[in-house]
Symmetry: C2
Subunit: 163 residues, 2 copies
């Protein structure tokens, strides 16, 4: 048994708690996700597994990610790209959001405790019991702005009824 990350050990414990087998595939997938600081897509995970001489079916990757998300060791994201991304859950500070560049797809994380306060106030007002939230801000990252990228505005010339 090789040297693994703390999160990886927690995942082993999770599997044992749930009486599920600790397989090589599950270990390899967990190690890929836990050893990256990025928001990985399934395709990226598959590629990294392959370059590590692992040949693991897509179905197994999806099934294992499901376990990782359930265990709360991994967080699932959907940035509207048409597929999901997965991120190591325990490196995350409790409150965080994402700045997403519409040009290059870059994702910048940020912390904001103020959102927690807003969330508490809003949910209390509506008698809603919150479990999680997400704050995503879309726009242009600094490098893309400096590269002169402009986002198209195809909207109405003037949103006032003139006719």
């Amino acid at each position: 048994m090789v040297e693994v990350s703390p999160s990886h050990r927690l995942f082993r414990r999770y599997l044992k708690e749930q009486r599920l087998p600790v397989t090589h595939q599950r270990e390899a997938i967990a190690e890929v996700v836990f050893s990256s600081a990025e928001h990985l897509s399934v395709e990226e995970i598959e590629r990294r597994l392959r370059s590590g001489r692992n040949r693991i079916g897509k179905a197994t990757i999806y099934r294992t990610l499901d376990l990782l998300v359930r265990s709360r060791l991994v967080v699932e994201h959907d940035f509207g790209e048409g597929f999901k991304r997965y991120e190591h859950g325990l490196t995350q500070e409790p409150v965080h959001g994402h700045l997403i560049c519409l040009e290059c797809g870059r994702v910048i994380e940020f912390q904001s405790w103020e959102v927690q306060e807003v969330k508490a106030r809003i949910t209390q007002k509506h008698g809603f019991r919150p479990t999680r939230h997400k704050l995503e801000i879309y726009g242009l990252c600094q490098p893309c702005q400096e590269a002169g990228v402009e986002l198209p505005d195809d909207g109405l010339s003037c949103p006032i009824e003139t006719v």
Copy 2:
């Protein structure tokens, strides 16, 4: 030409500005979206069109929704259900977010100007130029809580490494 909503008239103007034909299908689809206060899925839009004796292909619905979104008269949402939802854009107050019930799927809108401030502060700090943002809070709505629904917690028994 029948009596239509202000937004519908704006959509006609948008089409003219873009030199695109104002077709019966586009009018019918726009009317369905503009006459509803809900977040409609494509399937729901299709159903409403059918009950109004319109037989319009799914492809046309998607193509028209694309125009409506571009014109900014309609807003697209993805609540992680595996498909998108569309909402009348002009009834929206400038700043709004969603409370999404994980049990029944109900969506409650809320206003929060404080998020704007947070957004301005964060984006400035990162040199990011924002266009739009979304704040979504997931959890249990009041009716579901009163019905005694509990959300399962399949996570680790304790996220502290004990082994």
